[in-house]
């Protein structure tokens, strides 16, 4: 069998490209690693407990709307945003909610924390990666495997 010998020129070009690629990708990696808190779109209620000087700081907080917490009181929506670690914050929102905001569904609130109450200025519904027709859910409910609402 003949061993394929790489041409010297080809080897040179390969190393040239490799250096370009490694330099560029490592710089992108370092940038995104050092800015990872800024790149993150939202924080969870658990992260809020670790943070200092929360008062009057503009934040985005994400999580699920807590069960039986969504209420309409004095012209504004009041609800609790809860995360997987069962930490939650109280949110007040005085505008119209997006259509798909429901209890036990994902939500992102944008605003300020004042006296342990989150005054939201923007509310976004966060959809998860599950897609299902109603018939499949009915089937799951019959089998007792449905974990959602």
């Amino acid at each position: 069998m003949r061993i394929i010998k790489l041409n010297k020129q080809i080897k040179k070009r390969f190393i040239f490209l490799l250096i370009i690629f490694v330099c560029f990708s490592s710089s992108i990696f370092l940038i995104s690693y050092s800015l990872k808190d800024q790149i993150a779109y939202f924080v969870e209620p658990t992260d809020l407990k670790k943070m200092n000087e929360l008062e009057n700081k503009y934040l985005r907080v994400g999580g699920l709307v807590k069960e039986n917490s969504l209420k309409f009181i004095d012209g504004s929506w009041v609800f609790e945003v809860i995360d997987q670690n069962k930490n939650s914050i109280n949110v007040v929102f005085s505008k119209t909610l997006p259509n798909l905001v429901e209890e036990k569904k994902g939500i992102i609130v944008e605003g300020k924390l004042v006296n342990n109450t989150f005054i939201a200025e923007i509310v976004l519904a966060k959809h998860d990666e599950n897609y299902m027709p109603q018939s499949a859910i009915n089937k799951l409910k019959e089998e007792g495997k449905w974990r959602g609402d």
Partner: protein
């Protein structure tokens, strides 16, 4: 593989392109039928059907960039004109695909999230991908000699490949408004089989259409060069 001349590849693709376009129309027809008659999502309602265009376009915009980057590497290392011409004819398709992703995504976003656009990691990196495609096309047409243009544009394509894992894994690495992957993820797809089949048929149809489009662009580039060469010889 690097011995194939652009002319031979162009002739070959031109000979099979009519079968590809028939197949793609057939698949897109089946996909359209499935999309119309499939049951709505229990939570989003009818707006989730945008997914059947959005997701194939997103996969293709990433896959086309990967193909472009690999053929740029082959082109630069082995000085292969075929690989350069493949990269050159892929970038307009990729640009259109990424624009489709951004437009359908923002329509869906307004219906679901309540906002057309947010600056989260997935959306921003996808916008950057579209801009890299645009930059690649502009670089290709900003040189007098196409060999020089190919060299400069391939460097951009290779550097731009850094963005591909960022687009794909942005939803896992950082918190984003965009939901995680539904199909290509650990633990299997998180949608029912009828949705999955519709998605795959739609993807195959759009993929075949892009192949047809690619073979046409490739053919046009080769024919243009032939005309230019004969003009030079006649002068």
């Amino acid at each position: 593989m690097f011995a194939i001349t652009p002319n031979a590849l162009s002739t070959f693709m031109n000979s099979i392109s009519k079968y590809i376009v028939i197949l793609s129309f057939l698949l897109i027809g089946i996909a359209a039928f499935l999309i119309i008659f499939i049951e709505n999502d229990y939570y989003q309602g009818i707006s989730f059907k945008i997914m059947f265009i959005h997701v194939p376009a997103a996969w293709l915009s990433l896959a086309i960039f990967l193909a472009m980057g690999i053929s740029s590497i082959i082109g630069l290392i082995f000085k292969s004109p075929t690989a350069f011409t493949i990269a050159r004819s892929l970038s307009p398709i990729g640009l259109i695909m990424s624009i489709i992703v951004l437009v359908t995504g923002s329509i869906w976003g307004n219906l679901t999230w309540g906002a057309y656009w947010v600056w989260d990691a997935r959306l921003t990196s996808m916008l950057i991908l579209a801009f890299i495609y645009l930059g690649h096309i502009l670089l290709l047409y900003s040189f007098e000699h196409f060999q020089k243009a190919d060299f400069a544009a391939s460097i951009l394509a290779i550097i731009g490949m850094v963005n591909l894992p960022i687009v794909k894994f942005s939803v896992d690495w950082w918190t984003t408004l965009h939901q995680g992957s539904s199909v290509l993820k650990i633990g299997g797809p998180s949608m029912t089989n009828d949705y999955l089949i519709t998605l795959l048929v739609s993807f195959l149809g759009i993929f075949m259409l892009t192949m047809y489009w690619f073979s046409n662009i490739f053919y046009i580039i080769i024919e243009k060069r032939k005309i230019e060469r004969s003009k030079l010889l006649n002068d």
